[in-house]
């Protein structure tokens, strides 16, 4: 017979386990607490110190069952930074600890080392003071953007500022150009994760690249062509299977390339949180110029957060201001958050859909639209930032940008979108020899 333990007695050996303890960022884990006093209120707490030294935490309130067990994948949190049954809530609901500098956003710079998260169990339902109490149990979890065997290769030839991630194995692998948005920098983590799923992905810096930093000029189409050609010629990349993935401003490039490029023949394209609205004449410089002309439409919230979604609204009817998606010949996946406060991604998606239906090529379109998801639809189980400090590359101004999204729905959207993105990429890059039709069942 199990002994009756009073709460005042020395707690004996509460066991906390997380499996797997070393996972990829998009892998689910199971958090299990065992051997607690039955029907006992407990708090499960996650803490993480990110690379720039800021502390993040998440916590949830549970009650152990009759056998003294809590299974986060099955049991209901009744409070904390998330509630309900949320297997991965301890990760996606991570927030900066109280007293932190405002406007933080967690982004991994060094993808060759894991994120280390400490998970602990505390007595009672706590909302603060975690540092003052000794937890009942604690464990450490590693979250990796890179699988073992994936190779990280800095790319500087042909004037490129890029990083190529090659999956393990002989190849040849399908290739992918990975583009982020207006913040610039060389952001590697999504490409590293895609390589961990068998795609030779190259993260490309096109706003703060060496060329631009040295000359002060924006890159032109030939920069992207050089990136594409580099992939094409790479001995481990299959030249006929190269995709492009863009988020935010990266979408503008992706859509233009997918429709018009003579050099870059994309096998498929993915556009996240972006728009097809841009002057057809010209390229990056002209697109940014167009935004600038409309900058008067910027709004601000009470907290001085900048809302840029209106810059491209209303969606123009003038065809010279939109990528003619009716001419698209490869499969396209559009991912948009309906609460995107930074770009009018949803409205653009509706217009793209209508244009393609009119042109008769809408069978190429897969549209994922998420209510209450914001702009930053990123790989899953990473914290959501509804707003954060943003430095615009052109103006060098630091502003608080409102990205949008409600944490719970945004996190669900990230999980769903990433899974479907991988299916889409695999189907188009690995499957079939002919140009494929869209996915019938995602």
């Amino acid at each position: 017979m199990p002994q009756q333990l009073k709460m005042e007695e020395k707690p004996c050996c509460v066991a906390l386990s997380v499996q797997p303890s070393r996972g990829l960022v998009d892998e689910k884990f199971v958090v299990l607490v065992q051997n607690t006093v039955p029907s006992c209120p407990l708090t499960i707490h996650a803490s993480h110190q990110c690379e720039d030294g800021h502390s993040w935490h998440a916590f949830a309130h549970y009650t152990s069952d009759a056998s003294g067990v809590i299974n986060v994948s099955e049991d209901c949190s009744v409070g904390g930074t998330y509630s309900g049954v949320e297997a991965m809530g301890l990760l996606w609901s991570l927030k900066p600890v109280p007293g932190s500098k405002p406007g933080l956003r967690m982004r991994k710079k060094n993808v060759q080392a894991p994120m280390v998260i400490t998970i602990s169990v505390y007595k009672g339902h706590l909302t603060e003071g975690f540092g003052d109490q000794v937890p009942l149990a604690g464990t450490e979890v590693e979250r990796w953007y890179m699988a073992p065997g994936v190779r990280r290769i800095a790319v500087t030839e042909d004037g490129l500022t890029a990083t190529l991630f090659l999956p393990s194995g002989p190849g040849p692998f399908p290739g992918l150009l990975d583009l982020w948005g207006g913040g610039g920098q060389l952001v590697e983590y999504r490409a590293a994760l895609l390589a961990s799923h068998g795609i030779a992905a190259m993260a490309l810096d096109y706003l703060t690249c060496k060329y631009t930093m040295e000359t002060g000029k924006m890159v032109e189409q030939d920069y992207f062509e050089a990136a594409y050609t580099f992939l094409q010629k790479h001995p481990k990349v299959l030249s006929s299977r190269i995709a492009m993935l863009g988020l935010s401003l990266g979408t503008s490039i992706t859509l233009k390339t997918a429709v018009y490029s003579e050099v870059m023949k994309l096998r498929c394209a993915v556009s996240i949180s972006g728009s097809h609205v841009q002057p057809l004449d010209g390229f990056l410089k002209e697109t940014l110029g167009y935004f600038n002309e409309n900058s008067g439409k910027t709004c601000f919230t009470e907290d001085n957060e900048a809302i840029w979604r209106n810059l491209l609204l209303p969606i123009p009817t003038d065809p010279s201001l939109k990528v003619d998606v009716g001419k698209l010949q490869c499969p396209l996946m559009l991912i948009v958050g309906e609460d995107d406060q930074n770009w009018c991604a949803y409205e653009s998606a509706m217009d793209i859909k209508e244009m393609m239906e009119r042109a008769g090529n809408s069978h190429l379109l897969t549209l994922l639209s998420y209510p209450n998801a914001g702009h930053l639809i990123e790989p899953p189980y990473t914290p959501h930032a509804r707003s954060s400090l943003f430095r615009d590359v052109k103006s060098r101004q630091m502003l608080m940008a409102l990205w949008g999204g409600q944490t719970l729905e945004h996190s669900r959207a990230q999980e769903d979108a990433w899974r479907k993105l991988l299916v889409f990429l695999r189907k188009n890059l690995y499957g079939g020899v002919k140009s494929t039709s869209p996915l019938s069942n995602l």
Partner: protein
């Protein structure tokens, strides 16, 4: 169509294998790409045209490529999840985007800490959708047969041409084993020559979870390594004892710490930091008691929740500590070992005589390999060394490998059970008995050594441990689970 296909491809697209990045890749592929063939390729200009295609086809045969691989489709996908796992966690290995009903070979290889190459392989057939998985599909040939999700790991053998008498044991538990798993075309034997690697994945196998701390112990004469789980504690603890192989084996302790037990691997024989001549046991009851106390006194250990696990000679030590030294363990796990010393004692504290002077019970098989089994037959054990089981006060789990060639495990289990019954203590005894399992019942999914090098001086001697691959692997998996459940029950609740 052939000419169209050829007009846009580069040399690299067609023959990635011939341009292996590293020398090690080339060795592993064994792709029969002779210097002459390489010369032909570099001289040749790739032009659309049938004659070129014939030449290329000829070279394809040379490299052993399967006929359906072309330059227009990517390689199939091989995945493993979780790709970084503890050694006792199951990994799900799958292949996708193959042609339907396609024969493939999965080939795993890794280097031990000593640099020896170990490998295994298995034959599968993809299903109608061009996929297969090790968790759902049977192997139809190779190092193991049937549906064995972890077969690639436990069926590993030293690669041909390696050193003889090897046994796989992780020395450095702070680093993982890196297992390279390849997907090859056709049902091939990888060491047999012509292979073509279609895809690969690298898996890490860890003996230590993140946050576990490793602490070398050299105090009060105690020689060992302690592993402390992450978190504040307090934790239950385990004293971990191995056999007459000696030295200091850390890997079971580090795994136990990864499950939340403070664990102390204790050296008692064959370690440079221990006193006295190296051919006998020079530490006695006080030494083991001190080690137990070290755990008890540790600020993060619950002092009345300490168990002991011992394999082989470690079994006898486990029983001796529990009945003679005054300490009170909460439970014991004994694997394939005697209830008395296999070497005569020289004092009442348990120190022993020289090992090798007592060989009368050694037997040898046709190949001159030594079988120690009879040494531990109860009738052959020094009577003054028998543990007094009537003094046992805590639960005991005894695990038997029925094909144990190194110890008379069944006979000792029988005697222990009988003695406990006579003492009215049957309720303390749990026996697990595994047909086909050998002496070395270790944490799961590691290969069994049916025999291995025992000594090299004065002459080379190989010893038989026993055990056949599949049943031994099943025993390890089941026993480990039952051990962990047993420890949970007696050390946590």
């Amino acid at each position: 169509m052939v000419t169209d296909a050829l007009s846009n491809i580069s040399l690299f697209d067609l023959f990635p294998l011939l341009f292996a990045e590293r020398a090690t890749d080339a060795v592993m592929f064994r792709a029969h790409a002779s210097v002459k063939a390489m010369g032909q390729l570099t001289d040749m200009k790739i032009k659309p045209g049938c004659s070129v295609y014939r030449k290329l086809a000829g070279l394809q045969r040379l490299t052993g490529k399967v006929p359906w691989i072309s330059s227009t489709r990517p390689a199939p996908l091989l995945t493993a999840a979780p790709v970084r796992a503890l050694v006792d966690e199951q990994i799900s290995i799958r292949g996708r985007f193959l042609p339907p009903r396609c024969p493939v070979t999965v080939w795993a290889r890794m280097h031990s800490d000593e640099g020896d190459l170990w490998e295994s392989f298995a034959h599968y057939n993809s299903n109608e959708s061009g996929a297969f998985s090790l968790t759902g599909d049977p192997s139809v040939g190779g190092s193991y047969l049937g549906c064995e999700p972890m077969g690639l790991f436990w069926s590993m053998q030293p690669a041909p041409g390696g050193r003889e008498g090897l046994r796989l044991r992780k020395k450095n538990v702070e680093t993982p084993y890196l297992v390279h798993i390849s997907l090859l075309g056709g049902h091939v034997s990888p060491s047999g020559g012509q292979i073509s690697e279609l895809a690969a994945v690298t898996a890490e196998r860890w003996y230590m979870a993140p946050g576990v701390k490793r602490i070398a112990i050299h105090q009060n004469g105690i020689v060992g390594t302690m592993f402390v789980p992450p978190g504040p504690g307090p934790f239950p603890a385990m004293l971990d004892l191995w056999g007459m192989g000696g030295g200091l084996q850390e890997y079971r302790s580090s795994l136990l710490a990864s499950k939340g037990y403070v664990s102390l691997s204790l050296a008692y024989f064959g370690h440079k930091d221990l006193p006295g001549p190296p051919d006998r046991i020079n530490v006695g009851d006080l030494y083991f008691k001190a080690a137990f106390r070290l755990l008890q006194d540790h600020p993060q250990v619950v002092s009345d929740r300490i168990g002991i696990i011992g394999l082989s000679f470690g079994c006898y030590l486990t029983l001796r500590i529990a009945t003679r030294t005054g300490v009170k363990p909460s439970c014991l796990v004994c694997i394939n070992g005697p209830m008395g010393s296999t070497v005569p004692l020289t004092d009442s504290d348990g120190r022993t005589d020289q090992f090798d002077s007592f060989q009368q019970y050694w037997t040898f098989d046709d190949e001159g390999r030594v079988i120690f089994k009879d040494v531990s037959l109860p009738a052959n054990l020094p009577p003054d060394s028998f543990v007094k089981l009537e003094k046992l006060d805590c639960p005991l789990m005894y695990i038997v490998g029925e094909d144990d060639l190194s110890a008379s495990s069944t006979e000792n289990a029988d005697l222990i059970e009988e003695n406990l019954r006579t003492a009215g203590k049957s309720h303390l005894f749990t026996r697990l008995s595994y047909p086909g399992a050998g002496h070395l019942i270790e944490p799961p999914y590691s290969p069994n050594a049916r025999s291995s090098m025992w000594s090299v001086k004065p002459k080379k001697l190989i010893t038989m441990w026993g055990g056949h691959p599949a049943p031994h692997a099943a025993a390890q998996e089941d026993a480990w689970k039952k051990i962990l459940d047993y420890l949970e029950k007696h050390l946590r609740s």
